[in-house]
Symmetry: C2
DNA sequence: TCCGATGTTGCGGGTTCACGCAAGACGCGG
DNA sequence: CCGCGTCTTGCGTGAACCCGCAACATCGGA
């Protein structure tokens, strides 16, 4: 068995290397990449079927890399190993995993034991292993309760990018008013109307901008999600008119 | 000599521990804290004069912790050890360092050698050591050229928080129009007017929201800066009315 | 002292936003 | 087939925003 490790922090990389060797005696080769771009290339060259992938890397982040890798070989098994369990990451990952693919999501704070178990489950048993904490988010967000619909999430991203109502309407093929409707839903769910509702009507927020920060603070959005959205936007601007 | 390490990643913590022992033979005690809160407490209990501090930690980040530590003992020497050189961090740090205090800023990507040198310079020689890359940012941002004034930065934070023009005016004791002036300066510098100026006048941006994302993408802002700003805002809302 | 550079404020108007109201459009179980 | 909920759309209003124009302050030199 061959395992590819994609991780930009050298410390974590060598830790992973050890963990992989310890957990998988049947593994005879370990390859390392220190960013997403190199990861993609090595995965292609070695036809890797087993990958441990960091999210958030400088040059090309784990989600991007995983997407192109899975596009070429949907049967590849990928274990995501991340510092955070931001909803933005979780959503990003579950958006790109191919049907029936085996993958895992383990937090860096997990114990050695947890990590080794996950490695074996995914790479040997082809089972999905999702950290409990992450799993919680998934349920909440994909199930309706208390979570955000895709359409709400979509419009959140759009205003975060700084698009105008009209621009969003064109991009999403909606009428101006529908866009504004969705915005209100969003404002509702994000609970942007606060200032605790008390006293002076003054000191209000700019709902649009406020929504974005609240989303950021709640980790519905994060840097890498913004980054991805931004490049998508640029593509749309150029091609789609 | 006693050294306090504040860092939430166990791997990095033990790496630092080793590095400190290797670089500073005169160091007889190393204490470790795994978040900002614990770091503050230990610094107080041990009257620590030498601290290595991670930025971005889950519970209470390095800047917060450093601020309260320096408030109690301005002569404390702190070496910041961070993954990133975001302008937001650099600005955050240089905003809180007391006059004449010795401090350092080293990136995690630096070599062992660099780190050890920095440790010795700061803790033994009381010299400031700032990573070259970080230094560049500092110059650019504190010197006028191409950088952002404090007032511009301030208003950037305010719109990022989602404050309305009027609210900003009250908070900063300015007239409505002045606020809008500063906003325009900001829009200018952030180059928000683009869409490359070409073709259709349509497809414009919401300048306010766009400014925030552009700032985020350029790392003028980041999560922890937002977080700090948000708590400051809440304080202001409660007390200052 | 006067002058120009920079920063603050008021006024006015064109645009975009936020949102209530109401008319359709679609889907779904009865 | 009808009724009901959810989603979409149009219209209209009041507020907030973007910004050009112009009158003061301020402050550091010449």
């Amino acid at each position: 068995m061959k395992v590819l490790i994609v991780e930009d922090d050298p410390l974590h990389r060598s830790y992973l290397h050890e963990a992989v060797c310890a957990a998988l005696p049947e593994c005879d080769t370990v390859i390392e990449a220190e960013n997403g771009t190199a990861g993609e290339r090595l995965a292609r060259d070695h036809k890797s079927a087993h990958i441990v992938m960091d999210l958030q890397m400088a040059s090309r982040n784990g989600i991007e890399a995983a997407r192109t890798i899975w596009k070429e070989r949907p049967e590849t098994r990928i274990l995501f190993w991340s510092n955070y369990s931001d909803e933005a990451y979780v959503r990003g990952v579950s958006r790109i995993v191919p049907d029936g693919a085996a993958y895992g999501y383990v937090l860096k704070s997990a114990s050695d034991e947890r990590l080794k178990l996950a490695l074996r489950s995914i790479f040997v048993e082809s089972q999905c292993v999702i950290d409990r904490e992450v799993r919680g988010l998934q349920q909440k967000s994909l199930g309706q309760t208390n979570g955000f619909t895709d359409s709400e999430y979509e419009i959140l991203v759009d205003i975060a990018l700084g698009l105008t109502d009209r621009a969003i309407a064109r991009r999403r093929n909606l009428s101006l008013r529908s866009v504004q409707n969705r915005l209100q839903q969003l404002y509702d769910k994000l609970d942007v109307y606060q200032t605790a509702g008390d006293d002076h009507e003054d000191g209000r927020f700019n709902l649009r901008a406020r929504a974005v920060t609240v989303a950021l603070l709640r980790k519905l959005l994060n840097y890498s999600a913004l980054e991805r959205a931004e490049t998508e936007l640029q593509e749309w601007l150029e091609s789609g008119r």
